[in-house]
């Protein structure tokens, strides 16, 4: 009888923990979705909101906005972390959800540069900053909330569900974008259809707010608050007291910085590399990432649970080390698989079609070349030359070197290479699951409950937001630096990997030397 009562108590506890995980995870997943659709649609957004004169500048401007979203995340972490340690976890991450949802919905409604001029990029920039602030507050709250509900010995397992949300959020963002793009046509999607994924967010956030409203406060925090033991000044306590500051530094340099670059390289740089260095067609490149993410996502839970058994440190460090050692060969394989120089062209199937049309005050000449290769790869090159009808304007643009044609390259891989690419990206996402699966449990366990939200949020968001979030910007820049001249391909397309390799290497050495492999201890007070 007594055993039955104990069993039913255990079942109730597990069921309650599951409800907490589900409610927290859905909200966090939606916040990631909101954050990612902007980055995923970076190219279209740059065309809509930034002057088109210089496409590289427009793309960089968008990446800078993207980075700004990441850079403000640490400020969100401080602001909302402090709030979470003062008034509670539940209300704080409810506020972050509302801010994130509102900003995302508003981005979908902002008129383009052609309609309202400079106001368009300015408004988008501000909304992006708000997204960054909200995300800065969200993750720490969700991880802390779940960890404080989790039983000892299972914290790695339960918090790993929160860790899956970042990947599932990207998965959802890519999925919604692909469905909308497929349902509408590509020109319609690029004209206004891209707004739909932003507007859809309002619905998702509404559902999530409803779920979160029903949640109760974290038991550890509620107990502390009842006993009057909460921190009066979490910021000062976290960063001015040496004992906490040294843990913040070790968390940042020995864990989250390396984890951040491994994560962004595996999930984002891989996509950027497929599209820009390998010229893989938009839909195929996104599908490669989607499938790799879907297959690898359960490993967040596998490594989270494993960290409960063997400790957090060695799993995270192994992920960093393997990533550092294998990035170059993996990316070389990706590049070689799509490199047309390695393939034999079926010359008789090549077609070249040229069209000329007058559009507004310009003469537009479009040349489309289609090629097929013996391994089944197809290649489409579209060269669009816009020449003003006015001779004086034409001469002026020619003198300024602005009459260069716009070239779009698109490679579609055959099935065998398509699966090979999925395999290579999958391996990279496995590294991500190794470094990211156990990190929430690692972070919550090194800080005390009274300042946990503040203390863990900052290193997490600096590591991921700044070190990781700048991977696309810095890596693109490093590749561009190897380009011998404008219009020519970069001499070293793998140069962008230098940044994540360097950061992950330093993080690995620091982590191995200074982090202990403790598990399952959480300071309640």
């Amino acid at each position: 009888m007594a055993k039955n009562v104990a069993d039913s108590g255990q079942i109730e506890e597990v069921s309650s923990t599951r409800r907490v995980i589900a409610a927290s995870s859905v909200g966090t997943l939606i916040e990631w979705y909101d954050f990612y659709i902007f980055g995923t649609l970076a190219k279209i957004i740059s065309e809509q909101f930034f002057p088109k004169d210089n496409p590289t500048a427009a793309l960089l401007a968008t990446l800078a906005t993207f980075a700004a979203g990441f850079v403000v995340r640490p400020f969100g972490a401080l602001f909302f972390g402090r709030l979470g340690d003062l008034i509670g976890r539940k209300y704080t991450f409810l506020v972050t959800l509302v801010i994130m949802g509102g900003s995302t919905f508003a981005i979908g409604l902002v008129p383009g540069y052609k309609t309202i001029g400079f106001f368009a990029p300015a408004i988008v920039f501000i909304l992006r900053l708000l997204q960054g602030l909200a995300l800065g507050g969200e993750y720490g709250g969700a991880a802390t909330y779940v960890a404080e509900h989790s039983p000892d010995g299972q914290r790695g397992f339960w918090t790993s569900f929160i860790q899956t949300t970042a990947t599932l959020g990207l998965f959802l963002a890519l999925g919604v974008i692909l469905i909308v793009r497929h349902t509408l046509s590509v020109p319609v999607f690029e004209d206004w259809g891209w707004r739909i994924p932003f507007i859809v967010s309002a619905l998702l956030v509404g559902v999530s707010i409803f779920i979160r409203m029903k949640m109760s406060e974290s038991p550890m925090f509620a107990k502390m608050k009842k006993e009057g033991k909460t921190s009066a000044n979490p910021l000062a306590e976290s960063f001015k007291q040496k004992d906490n500051l040294k843990m913040v530094l070790i968390a940042l340099l020995g864990a989250t910085a390396g984890q951040g670059v491994v994560w962004y390289t595996g999930q984002f740089y891989a996509l950027s590399f497929l599209q820009n260095a390998c010229n893989i067609e938009f839909e195929q490149s996104n599908t490669i990432i989607l499938i790799a993410l879907a297959v690898a996502t359960p490993f967040f839970v596998v490594f989270g649970a494993l960290s409960d058994k063997i400790g957090r440190k060695y799993i995270m460090m192994a992920g960093m080390l393997i990533a550092v050692l294998s990035y170059k060969p993996l990316y070389q394989m990706m590049y070689d698989s799509a490199n047309l120089k390695n393939k034999t062209e079926v010359v008789e199937s090549t077609t070249v079609e040229t069209k000329e049309a007058v559009k507004d005050t310009d003469n537009v000449i479009t040349t489309v070349t289609n090629k097929t290769f013996t391994d089944g790869t197809t290649y489409k090159e579209t060269v669009k030359q816009t020449i003003p009808l006015d001779a004086a304007k034409k001469a002026e643009l020619a003198a300024a070197g602005k009459l260069k044609p716009e070239t779009k390259k698109s490679v579609i891989l055959p099935q065998s290479l398509f699966y090979k690419m999925i395999g290579i990206v999958f391996i990279q996402v496995i590294f991500v699951t190794m470094v990211y699966g156990p990190i929430a449990a690692f972070l919550v366990e090194i800080f005390p409950t009274r300042i946990r939200y503040t203390s863990m949020s900052l290193p997490y968001h600096i590591g991921n937001g700044v070190f990781g979030g700048l991977v696309p910007l810095i890596s693109t820049r490093l590749v561009e630096a190897t380009r011998p001249a404008a219009g020519l391909p970069p001499a070293d397309p793998l140069a962008g990997l230098m940044y994540p390799i360097l950061i992950a290497s330093v993080s690995f050495v620091i982590g191995m030397l200074y982090i202990s492999n403790k598990t399952n201890n959480m300071d309640v007070e």
Binding site: V71, L249, L253, V509, Y514
Partner: protein, 78 residues
């Protein structure tokens, strides 16, 4: 913890501090060189982000961490 491990941690403390200090002139000199060669908007944006955001975080955290390590603060980590 062994004395050797403690010594290694302290020795590396010097390395982290020097890295933190060294990164400041390195980044600033590179930024000046690249902006002088091509003073474009994208160059300014890129280097502003690196100098204002990334560099201070790396420098401050490495120097402080290095000093803590050198003082033996990480000899025993619970």
């Amino acid at each position: 913890m062994s004395i050797i491990m403690s010594a290694i941690k302290k020795l590396f403390g010097i390395v982290w501090s020097l890295m933190g200090i060294g990164i400041i002139p390195l980044v600033i000199m590179q930024a000046m060189k690249e902006i002088a060669a091509k003073p474009s908007e994208e160059n300014w944006i890129f280097w502003s982000i690196v100098i204002v955001v990334l560099m201070p975080i790396i420098a401050f955290s490495l120097i402080t961490f290095g000093v803590f390590a050198l003082k033996g603060e990480y000899d025993v980590i619970e």
